[in-house]
Symmetry: C2
């Protein structure tokens, strides 16, 4: 196509919806914006994607810079979520925002000049832009994927009990599951194996420890 005026691209931004489960609650990574616009308001972490940098690389750089964590190292899984046109959304004018969804476990946030937090999705503060909708959308995607993939691997430590795994499923789905049916189902999916070790710390019968067979996303035929 020909343009009379030189081609000018819209501003491109990338944002992260970073999840982990803490104390049986699904939490999402947010920060209190130190700068305008929406200074002082909580929002998803994100920033500008300049020419010459892929969206994943830009996100990696921005999260390292703004949150001081490393996406590849600290999150176990990442996928692209959706691309939003922000004509009406962003007071700075037209921009396009590519959003990513990431899942991890036991991520510690370094303390910074401004607040960052993994906040339970049931207790989120007011958020800038339409970030609350984006988190909802990511949560729906995540709950759906739980039913037909092994994505739970990204939330679990290397060794875990079936009860701990069930608790993660319940946190992500937002509902209770039957213990016997959960065990039958998860074992029939052939995505985890017993490690042979037992967890003996507690004042009750020791639990068998399991591990995920794969640390990459796989689809399963069985569903919940």
């Amino acid at each position: 196509m020909q343009y009379e005026t030189p081609y000018a691209a819209p501003t491109l931004t990338v944002d992260l919806v970073g999840f982990q489960v803490i104390h049986g609650e699904l939490c999402v990574l947010i920060l209190k914006r130190p700068n305008e616009p929406f200074s002082g308001t909580w929002a998803l972490p994100g920033g500008y994607n300049p020419e010459g940098e892929t969206t994943e690389a830009a996100l990696q750089r921005i999260i390292r810079h703004k949150i001081s964590i490393d996406i590849d190292k600290d999150f176990s899984y990442i996928e692209q979520l959706y691309t939003f046109d922000t004509v009406a959304r962003d007071p700075r004018g037209h921009a396009v925002a590519v959003t990513y969804l990431a899942c991890g476990r036991a991520i510690e946030l370094p303390s910074l000049d401004y607040e960052t937090s993994f906040t339970p999705i049931v207790a989120l503060p007011e958020l800038a832009y339409d970030h609350a909708d984006i988190i909802d959308y990511a949560h729906k995607r995540l709950a759906a994927k739980l039913l037909y993939t092994n994505i739970a691997f990204a939330f679990m430590p290397p060794k875990f009990t079936l009860t701990e795994l069930q608790s993660t499923y319940e946190a992500l789905l937002g509902r209770k599951l039957d213990k016997r049916n959960f065990r039958k189902k998860i074992l029939s999916q052939d995505i985890i194996s017993p490690s042979g070790e037992l967890r003996t710390e507690a004042a009750h019968r020791p639990a068998q420890l399991y591990q995920f067979d794969h640390q990459e996303l796989r689809e399963v035929t069985e569903t919940f």
Copy 2:
């Protein structure tokens, strides 16, 4: 974030994967590129997205300009497919491509200076860039959505027989379905209703005509 140099955004492009079913075959809209790069090679229609225009608006404009059809009028359904980083893909350098998936029926292509075609996906020519992969991805998404939504509405005329509907499902899924099971299933989904009219043109028993209850995407609980 601060930048030493002024912020420069990557080139933003939009591409369309446009589907319709012709003679029981799933077909996709491609054109023979009149310009470099890849001049003379078949590719998905697409173009540049300048600042100030949403990706959907840019796509609308580009398809009207390049194919002389109107997305809103000629396609019955459109959704965003995926956003690709094209660092390695595009010989012109770094670009970000937002792709859309659209579905329609009985779309007639006006003749132009260069070739455009709804080509059966089983008989696609060599395509520019990684457009063949993008079409595969779109096809998978479509087949998945067929199982848990009413998306077939976008491929069907206002009135149709159950056999015609089954043929569309078979074209999209790439496999044959059992007639009795299909009818039980589709009727249990409560997404179509008999119109009361019959199709009597042919040399066999007349068929009941059905219509979709809704012309927007809905999810169904029942699946195939």
